[in-house]
Amino acid sequence: MSAHEHVERPIGGPILTPGFYLLLGLIAVALVTVAVRLFLGLGAVTALNDGYPWGIWKPLNVVTFTGVAAGAYAVGLLTYVFNKGEYHPFVRSGVMAGAMGYTLAGTSVVVDLGRWWNLWVVMWPPVYQINSVLLEVAVCVTLYMAVLWVETVPAVLEQFTISEYPILRRIGMKYLPAMRKALPFIIALAILLPTMHQSSLGGLYMITPTKLHPFWHTYWIPLLFLMSCWTMGFGSVVLIEMITTWIWPRRTDVKLLSRLGKVAMWCLVAWTALRLGDLVVSGRLAKGFAMDRAGFYGFWFFLEIAVTLAAILIFSQKKLRENQGWLFGASCLVVFQGALYRFDTYLTGYMPARPGAVYFPSIWEITNSIGWAAIGIAVYVAMVKRFPLLSGVVVKKQPSAKRIAAAS
């Protein structure tokens, strides 16, 4: 086990690189769709209809983004609760990605809400209808978003302590110790909240036994979504670590990442066991194949299982998971698997009570989702360049701005 450097440093270098301009362009397109949606209604930019009231903004922008953002949760769980201190280097980067992912999900929901100005109800307990799973999600996600940003505060304060501005230095010095003291309790919250809402994101579909295909509908769905978010979280941490190492001058411990992969594998094994076991025991597997369009639903179901098994297979081989390429590929598969499971539950396996409705995202829904992802990447890039979030940053005596710009 390598000695792990607990010190995080800013990457440095200019923020406004050509790649960054591309991100800004994508964001601009997304903002235009938001503006149109604001004045002309959701129907003007989306392909949503009364048969499919939830389109890709829900399973992609909300459920998949938070799944990717669950890196903070998964690694936090491992590091703090199971006391695996060696994973500490991944925490801050994960938290940053998490904060971004959740913020994107939250804002995306606001765009998707028909009557967004009424969102105050989420912060006003007297009107709560406590049976609503969605309310639990909304309140929890809002709180967690705040918690994640609070978790990034120490990094910001640290940077303040070495700032050239005296006022920032004073703020940093003053609040950093208090922040550190409060951190365990904040972290505990940061683990409780996703446990609650990630399960609820699946729990949303408990109420639709007739409208969700038997391959996906189960009352175990909260647990399946919870476990699936762990694997997605581990996968996304591996991906982010590897990508940032690739494009920026930093080092990461591939052996450590491969061990993270192994954890992800065990989560996947447990998930698969529960998923398939429940399907077989409850008889829904047979029921699903007896229904109409079994081929369509069967395809997506088997794709999901095939991807899962492929990822498990790669991670289970020590030689493969310690090879950067295979590790990267398998982590891609893990994130794809989570996204696929979420898409299948939210869209593919969803059967409107009145057949006849079709849905495929409009080009504006797609560009909006891309734009939203671009916001996340842009903010993440800007943050890691300015604040100490990534560990293992290679400090050059005088880093050439040109080289870093080219690299990013």
């Binding site: 002309l40 209604g41 959701l42 129907g43 003007a44 989306t46 209809n49 009364d50 009231p53 939830w54 703090y80 609760v81 199971f82 006391n83 809400l113 028909g114 009557r115 967004w116 009424n118 109800v121 989420v122 009107v127 209808q129 049976n131 609503s132 799973v133 969605l134 309310l135 639990e136 951190l183 365990p184 309790f185 972290i187 505990a188 919250l189 683990i191 409780l192 446990t195 609650m196 399960s199 729990g203 949303l204 408990m206 109420i207 639709t208 036994p209 007739t210 409208k211 009352y219 175990w220 909260p222 647990l223 919870l226 476990m227 065990w266 447990a270 969803y350 009570a353 009145r354 006849g356």
Partner: protein, 309 residues
């Protein structure tokens, strides 16, 4: 490593216990909403409907809904094809086989224990007087979870409006006659008022069940012996009768079983969050563990490299 895995399994067990499944049988007994005899509803009889669409027209008038322009061979008609943001009630036709067809009236079923009410975040959809499933825009955020939850696909959304609403039949409760007694004091559906043949009638659930029973007894050879809605999906206050040999599925009414949609789903949710005990315990456990772990680590660090800066 073995310690880690054991702890992981403990975590799984905690999560598993939190989402423990209830036995389905015990679920319905704890429900908040039950069928009350003086709840109001409608009874629609496909054998009496002649498809005149008086109800469709009158519904639009009574609820101030705009025309639903449908293009047919180049001409434009006010011919709604389905329930929508501009149509709360529609007459459709179903091919029921053997060259026969049947009319079908679609509108909110006013479930006894509605999924839309169970999923709504802030009582925008709620059970109001007489068991009517009513809509209150003031707290509606437009999340459209009601559309996902409804097993009949009834709530509709105004997709092309900047300030949209959820649109669904509220049994014309705005037309209620407070001075009247009985069902009319609660609501007064325009569709039932104009129906030329009493194909759809309004009344208390008890009255309607009585009518259904009488019709069935008078001409048992004419009717499908099932009255849809008596206990389908936990019971609906809008009930359906149809001709012998016609399946309700052909009319777009799904097979839901006897239990309401929210029964099991809410049971799972309630077990998990009962008194908020599980989350509180979990938080306590997490906070303690993290605090202890950090203390340990700090102690180790103090021994090793000296105080962390």
């Amino acid at each position: 490593m073995s310690f880690g895995r054991r702890t992981l399994l403990t975590g799984l067990a905690v999560a598993g216990a939190a989402t423990a499944l209830p036995a389905p049988a015990e679920a319905s007994s704890t429900r908040k909403y039950h069928r009350k005899p003086d709840d109001v509803g409608m009874l629609y009889d496909t054998t009496l409907c002649v498809g005149c669409r008086a109800c469709v027209t009158k519904c639009k008038e009574a609820n101030n809904l705009p025309y639903d322009k449908t293009e047919l061979d180049g001409a434009v008609y006010d011919a709604p094809e389905r329930l929508s943001g501009t149509t709360k009630n529609v007459i459709q036709v179903a091919d029921v086989g053997e060259g026969k067809w049947s009319f079908m009236k679609a509108q909110c079923m006013h479930c006894v224990d509605p999924a839309c009410v169970s999923v709504c975040m802030a009582h925008a959809l709620h059970k109001s007087a007489g068991g009517v499933v009513a809509y209150k825009p003031a707290t509606c955020v437009g999340c459209r979870y009601c559309q996902i939850g409804c097993p009949f696909d009834v709530p509709k959304f105004e997709w092309t409006k900047a300030l949209p609403l959820i649109v669904k039949c509220e049994l014309c409760r705005q037309r209620a006659k407070p001075e009247a007694t009985g069902a009319l004091a609660v609501a007064n559906p325009a569709c039932c008022e104009v129906c030329p043949r009493e194909a759809v009638i309004y009344g208390t659930v008890a009255e309607l069940q009585e009518v259904a029973k009488r019709r069935m007894e008078e001409s048992p050879e004419k009717y499908n012996s099932k009255v849809y809605g008596l206990d389908d999906g936990g019971g609906t206050q809008v009930m359906y009768m149809t001709a012998k040999g016609v399946e309700f599925g052909k009319l777009g009414l799904p097979e839901l079983g006897h239990e309401s949609m929210p029964a099991t789903a809410e049971q799972v949710q309630h077990t998990t969050y009962k008194w908020f005990a599980a989350p509180t315990l979990l938080y306590g456990f997490l906070a303690f563990t993290i605090y202890r772990n950090q203390k340990k680590e700090q102690a180790a660090a103090a021994h090793g490299h000296g105080e962390e800066k």
